[in-house]
Symmetry: C2
Subunit: 242 residues, 2 copies
Amino acid sequence: MPVSSLTDPALEDVRDLLDTGFEHGEMITLVGRCAIDYDGRASSHLPPGERLVICKPDGTLLVHRDEQRKPVNWQPPGSTHSVCLDDDRLIVESVRSSPHEELEITFKTVAQASRLELDDMSELALEGSEEDLRQRILADPDILETGFNAMATERETSAGPIDIYGQDADGTPIAVELKRRRVGPDAVGQLNRYVEALERNRPGKSVRGILVAPSVTERATELLASEGLEFVSLTPEQADTS
Amino acid sequence: MPVSSLTDPALEDVRDLLDTGFEHGEMITLVGRCAIDYDGRASSHLPPGERLVICKPDGTLLVHRDEQRKPVNWQPPGSTHSVCLDDDRLIVESVRSSPHEELEITFKTVAQASRLELDDMSELALEGSEEDLRQRILADPDILETGFNAMATERETSAGPIDIYGQDADGTPIAVELKRRRVGPDAVGQLNRYVEALERNRPGKSVRGILVAPSVTERATELLASEGLEFVSLTPEQADTS
DNA sequence: CCTTAGATCTCGCGT
DNA sequence: ACGCGAGGTCTAAGG
């Protein structure tokens, strides 16, 4: 885990460190006072302030302030970074194509500059996703409704793919929309689009729509009622019955 | 912009640095080999690997790998960080309440640990948002449709707030939904919910729905047609006519 | 606190 | 490439 770091360096030395880091595909962190201009999908300007800048070898660039979870500015993976010294200012530039986006960071002073080689082959194992909720229902369809018969997942309609498509005990088609957390009106609209698409395909035949989530907001409940849709309360993880 | 940094420190010294940094409300960066466990809205486990950890004074915690824009693990602002030394392992813990979430980072080795005091009072100025699109239309309603009369923004309906509510030249009500970029079926569903809510309030009276965006996907175009809704192409920023 | 919808959303998966 | 929907989404604004 080699780390090369400079404290209160001359901007010239920072430029060399960046060039070396970019060359070697290393991660770089910079702490310093900088102004930032962005132009691409939108455009922004951030006056000078002290921030932490991170350049990843995959082309990602992050600018973090001392608060908030999201970077104040950034470039997505695949961008190309470069650095140049202009008088007494160090300019870090990141360019992305398709769509074209430019980020320019102008440093007045740099307090710390580091090159990091990070070795990380592990993969994140996450539980509690919508996929887990789907597996729960497919493993035991009766928890949705007695006699439910799951016939397909991601079934295509003209309005998009249905999470689970099946039939009830009477053979009536059902579109099931899954959400891992409490839902609002948007999920109802989504389910409604799928149900209407199925009904357009089979005129006259009734289709049921069931929204599956831990809970729904009041407005979503009203919308479900006005559209004739149903709700079943389920979480991705089985309730702890210990 | 005071920066205190340790290279290849003993874990004991890292613990002291963290304690000091937490105490003084400073930002902290750690580079090292660690495993991570999360439990809260979901749960996850990440086996050992080399990562960059950032603790912000507002309670934000970020764990970044050497690729991707998003942190592999994190805690939102408002979380409480703590550190303890357990044998030959350094454990950084972050807890959040409402909802309860825990993140535990177990370091085997630390290559770099830094305390940063970042002074940043500037505010980001961003252009090209949906709000800019709204201002464009309100400043010159005719660019939406000749004779359009904007009567309200964020007008409440039983299905949620309409971006712009108004009337056409004939006095027919119009719900306008704005999007800053190319849109898909979700935006059509959103507009449809608003139009249906208005129609439920005024039975028999027809209501027009207009989706405003730079462009729409084909599926969204079909949905617009099947719902009897309309589309007008506009961008947040005026086209460059130089 | 909860709800609602925007975001330079990001990300993965599919066509 | 583009389309589509999930996400521990995050974040701001409003009730």
